[in-house]
């Protein structure tokens, strides 16, 4: 017999939720085959089997959260008793032991309704569901053993109200939700965001520096690249990420974290990019971003974003970012300030590239101007350094040939900090 335990996926993970059992009791499993889907702080991951055999017993039902390290299932290896008798999966452990006396029957024995069909709900939740015409099977329970509570039903109602069709098509009567203040329970992701962002704002003294960057050249290079590639592969954000990563090489204090006793300057540039999902914010990471070309960054970012939307990111794809880029340009935002993602030292917030009149000598012409705002941790760096870094990002984006040139392969960093500027 081999125990399957709740794995620790990431340093901050203390517990995980079994979202779904992909394999059922009695089913054969191969090494590496997905057993279950696990929800961690940020992502849903598939849990692969470490042992081949038969999934002899599921110890943790769907929807339940358990601490890291707790057994959640048992796999019977080939040749072991439960493997030979998969038809009696509920008592795999007893197989090797002498039969228990009949009086000491397992307490679950006289169950008439299969567990997956019995919905646990508080009386109030049942009543609310009845009043609003909700099928409890559609409601996710958050109480003990997945018990559906009043809050769960209310959250379901709120979601249904949010997803209701536009007013032009009148909703069926039961969808009427009284205009009351709703308490929406915190999702795991929301809870994590709340905690980490509060910590950041409380602990890291933020300061902000904003520059304007003319993006006409970068937009043009992007257009040329995509025409050459025959597809919309490269986004403005990919060019920005490339620029942000390259510029970090020259300003290691911004590619750093504050440990209380020291400043840890990271040897690698792992660039996180903020991505909005319906359930909240997620920051996938492009590793060694300063050593990757624009197209490579673009392909990797697109792949990460697509899998993030499907909830298929691996935990390591969300870890170890040394710097973060957050872009709200697609929402026509002029500029904003972001909260540093701890323990990183800085985050770059980008608005949209908007056509603006700009003075050039004595004439005025229209240029696409993007505002870039760096939030930095004053424990680690100072305003002048932040300004120089932003100046480098601007130089790269305004001279985008530097972004597409193969500058990353050489041994010596081609970009040097110009301390006398």
């Amino acid at each position: 017999m081999a125990e399957v335990i709740m794995p620790k996926m990431g340093d901050a993970m203390t517990e995980g939720k079994v979202l779904r059992w992909i394999k059922q009791q009695g089913e054969a499993v191969q090494v590496g085959e997905a057993l279950a889907e696990i929800e961690t702080d940020k992502v849903n991951v598939e849990l692969p089997a470490d042992e081949a055999g038969v999934l002899a017993q599921i110890l943790v039902p769907e929807g339940q959260t358990v601490p890291v390290g707790q057994p959640i299932a048992i796999i019977a290896r080939p040749g072991e008793a439960a493997g030979e008798a998969p038809s009696a999966p509920e008592r795999p452990l007893a197989a090797a032991a002498p039969p228990a006396p009949t009086r000491a029957a397992p307490k679950e024995a006289p169950q008439r309704v299969p567990p997956e069909e019995r919905i646990k709900a508080s009386p109030l939740a049942r009543r609310l569901a009845r009043e609003h015409g909700i099928d409890l099977a559609e409601v996710q329970g958050t109480g003990p053993e997945g018990r559906i509570t009043k809050e769960d039903v209310e959250a379901h109602l709120a979601r249904r109200a949010a997803a209701a069709p536009a007013p032009a098509a009148p909703a069926p009567i039961p969808a009427a939700v009284p205009p009351v203040t709703e308490e929406v329970p915190l999702s795991r992701m929301r809870r994590t965001i709340a905690r980490r962002m509060s910590e950041s704002k409380q602990q890291a003294p933020h300061f902000y520096v904003t520059v304007e960057i003319r993006m006409d050249e970068a937009l043009s290079v992007r257009r040329q690249l995509n025409e050459a590639l025959g597809d919309k592969v490269v986004s403005v954000n990919d060019l920005i990420m490339r620029a942000a990563a390259l510029a970090l090489r020259a300003y290691p204090n911004l590619n750093a974290s504050f440990s209380g006793e020291a400043i840890r300057r990271h040897g690698e540039v792992h660039l996180g990019f903020a991505l909005a999902l319906p359930e909240g914010l997620i920051v996938p990471v492009i590793r060694h971003c300063d050593r990757k070309g624009v197209v490579e960054i673009a392909r990797e970012a697109a792949d990460l974003a697509e899998r993030a939307r499907q909830g298929r990111l691996r935990p390591e794809e969300l870890q170890d970012a040394t710097f973060t880029v957050s872009n709200l340009g697609m929402f026509e935002v002029e500029s904003f300030t972001a909260i540093i993602n701890p323990p990183q030292a800085a985050i770059l917030a980008l608005g949209s590239a908007q056509p603006r009149p700009v003075a050039e000598g004595a004439t005025v012409r229209v240029a696409h101007v993007m505002k870039a705002t760096l939030s930095a941790d004053h424990r680690v760096t100072d305003g002048a350094e932040a300004a120089r870094y932003l100046g480098e990002v601007r130089r790269l984006l305004e001279n985008p040939v530097l972004l597409v040139a193969d500058l990353s392969a050489g041994e010596a960093p081609p970009l040097r900090r110009r301390d006398n500027t």
Partner: protein, 327 residues
């Protein structure tokens, strides 16, 4: 005008007021006269009212409670002090088979307007046979009324009602509360039996308690408020009659209930109240009714173990959190 006084003073003042007003009120009990009372509730009563109205009894609960029942049947209004309620067990037959049933047996011809009062529940290291809470025992029997004041105002209000009613009243004080201060309204502040008091309003969970546990529940509510949980605290004041209406009214709004008692858990007052809530408000419950009770052991003598065996404020906070599905 309301005056601030102690639980003990409220007992003394109310007894005196009724003795002054009504010459039929007489006191009986061990050491209540010459010795001034074990807990000094009746200090100076002997010199003030004389030995015909303040009667020191032999050490025989069966005898003097039986005598008091006879006095009550014949028109007096005796108030018996039991040194602790544990000793009332010696007179259980008199209380349960005579006092509680005489009106019923006589078809309403005979009334027993008797008050038996004294400290109930755990004190400080009084050990297993002197620390018991007997309210559920007495509240079980029809024919008795069971009052448990939590505050000086309760003492005055409930004792006035007890001294003016026509039925035997089990008046359960708490020794740990004798020094507790509170406002007592002037004038005729009689509190009808069967009327609970909402001591603190709240919308998230209802904490139901009586006697000393009310103070724990209030402290727990204060603690919960700091976590953003608004707990409503109900002081039942009498267990028989029981004010189910106030309890149900509250639980209908909060959807969650925690019942607190000092007694052992099995077959206690909290079980009765939890069952009542299930019967009357089942469809409005969002979580099982929680009980916070004493440990299911004879009271230990050692102080550290005694404290562990008694309900604590943090137990109430934890139970309230469970009803809210918070850990």
């Amino acid at each position: 005008m309301a005056a601030v006084t102690t639980y003990r003073e409220a007992l003394r003042a109310t007894l005196m007021e009724e003795m002054d007003r009504n010459p039929a009120v007489v006191l009986l009990g061990e050491d209540i006269g010459v010795y001034q009372g074990t807990f000094r509730i009746t200090a100076d009563f002997l010199s003030r009212y004389g030995p015909r109205r303040v009667i020191d009894t032999p050490i025989s609960e069966l005898g003097f409670i039986g005598a008091a029942i006879g006095m009550a049947m014949l028109g007096l209004r005796p108030v018996v002090e039991v040194m602790t309620w544990n000793f009332s067990l010696l007179a259980a037959d008199q209380i349960l088979n005579n006092a509680a049933k005489l009106r019923y047996f006589s078809g309403g011809q005979v009334e027993v307007p008797l008050v038996i009062r004294g400290p109930n529940g755990a004190g400080v290291q009084l050990s297993a046979q002197h620390s018991q809470s007997l309210e559920a025992v007495y509240a079980h029997f029809p024919g008795l009324q069971v009052a448990l004041p939590a505050t000086p105002a309760d003492v005055r209000g409930l004792l006035l009602t007890a001294l003016r009613g026509q039925d035997p009243v089990i008046f359960l004080e708490n020794a740990a509360l004798y020094g507790v201060k509170g406002e007592v309204p002037d004038g005729d502040a009689a509190i009808p039996f069967g009327r609970a008091e909402v001591m603190r309003g709240g919308r998230d969970v209802t904490l139901i308690a009586y006697s000393r546990m009310v103070h724990l529940a209030l402290a727990a509510a204060e603690h919960l408020a700091r976590e953003g949980v608004e707990a409503e605290v109900i002081n039942l004041r009498t267990l028989r009659p029981l004010d189910g209406e106030t309890v149900i009214h509250s639980v209908r709004r909060t959807h969650r209930a925690v019942v607190v008692q000092e007694q052992w858990k099995p077959f206690g007052a909290a079980a009765e109240i939890a069952a009542l809530i299930s019967e009357e408000a089942f469809d409005l419950l969002d979580a099982p009714v929680e009980r916070v009770t004493g440990a299911d052991v004879p009271m230990p003598y050692a102080r550290n173990l005694e404290l562990l065996a008694l309900p604590h404020e943090r137990d109430i906070v934890a139970a309230a959190r469970r009803t809210l599905y918070r850990q």
